[in-house]
Amino acid sequence: MSNLPQIAKTQIAKLPEVVALVVTDDAGALLESSGDIDGEALGAVHVVTTQALARCGDALGLGPLHRVAVAGPRRACLISVHDREVLGIYLDPTRPIGVFEKKLELALRR
């Protein structure tokens, strides 16, 4: 998805559940961020996380990694992998993450 940073900024960041987001390339370089976060640092963490999970998927024969949802009492995070770009979205933890995942799929049409 070549225009992921643009979609993230103009569409996804405007969704009511979204607290902050960051888009990086697959090497962790910052492409776009929105909200009160250190996009450079968190973006790198997202990439390293997805790389480790992709190794799990490879070992288990589960195919390519598409998405990671992390839930906790204080915050929720969704990391979505698109070719050579990684989108990390921080969400209001009081809202259901599953509903947002469907919205995100629609926004990204995947």
Binding site: A20, G28, D38, V48, L60, A69, G72, C77
Partner: protein, 255 residues
């Protein structure tokens, strides 16, 4: 007995395997389809611990992680054992694409409760040891990829607490532009150069580790150029691979 609890998860449609992993990637117990032999599971355990090491940097109180793959899912649930020596295990569930996540959610909650009871009852050293004696545990080591800086257990919350509250400009050019205080522009430049040199060894996590090291070296006070040698020594000491450490030291010699 952990295995019967894992077996109950295996009975959920779509679940292909389940295992409990300790923070050092030792498999404490497992029940999995025969295609997932011990070698594969050990490989997965190391990658799981590595991914959780990263997740804890941004969310130390995570409860559940769901990874969606093209042909299945991997679900990780945090098992926090309380008591005199609190510790954290990870319950990993491997599933194919037929899994109904809602159904698994119920089974997972029940299983997690039972596993915690069992793990809390077991002494720290023997949780893995007793399983090893019964042939269930697989010896393992920390997932230490080349040049990876191990995160001390105690250091994680410090970073994780900052999490979303990290401030700074998203397009900032260096560490100094973020929430690590610096005394002057030269100190900021030093941190940026230091991050770049470290990135050559450990990749994009370099900035995170530099921030953590600055907090360790300087505490609450802002970083100054005079703290440079102590910071470099701290970072170099954390690089396990000898060649990577030498590369980092060469790259920072002129700073």
């Amino acid at each position: 007995m952990l295995e019967p609890i894992l077996q109950s998860l295996r009975e959920v449609e779509g679940v292909q395997g389940a295992m409990v992993v300790d923070p050092t990637a030792v498999i404490v117990a497992h029940r999995a389809h025969t295609i997932y032999d011990v070698t594969v599971l050990q490989q997965v355990a190391r990658a799981v611990v590595s991914s959780i090491d990263s997740v804890q940097l941004i969310q130390d109180d995570w409860d559940m992680l769901t990874a969606h793959f093209g042909d299945g899912k991997l679900l990780l649930r945090s098992l926090r054992v309380s008591g005199s020596r609190p510790r954290r295990y990870i319950l990993a569930v491997i599933a194919d694409s037929t899994l109904n996540v809602a159904f698994l959610g119920v089974a997972l909650r029940v299983a997690a409760g039972k596993l915690l009871t069992e793990l809390e009852a077991a002494p720290v050293a023997s949780a893995a040891g007793s399983a090893a004696a019964s042939g269930a545990a697989v010896p393992g080591a920390m997932a230490t990829g080349t040049g990876r800086l191990p995160l001390a257990e105690a250091s994680r919350p410090e970073l994780a607490r900052t999490g979303l509250s990290w401030t700074g400009t998203s397009t900032g050019s260096g560490v100094g532009s973020s929430d690590v205080g610096v005394t002057d522009p030269a100190s900021s430049t030093f941190l940026s150069a230091c991050t770049k040199a470290l990135a050559a060894s450990i990749g994009p996590m370099a900035k995170v580790f530099v921030k953590e090291a600055v907090r360790k070296v300087c505490g609450e006070r802002p970083f100054s150029r005079n703290d440079g040698p102590a910071l470099l020594a701290h970072l170099a000491a954390g690089i396990e691979d000898r060649d990577d450490r030498a590369t980092f030291q060469r790259a920072t010699r002129s700073l």
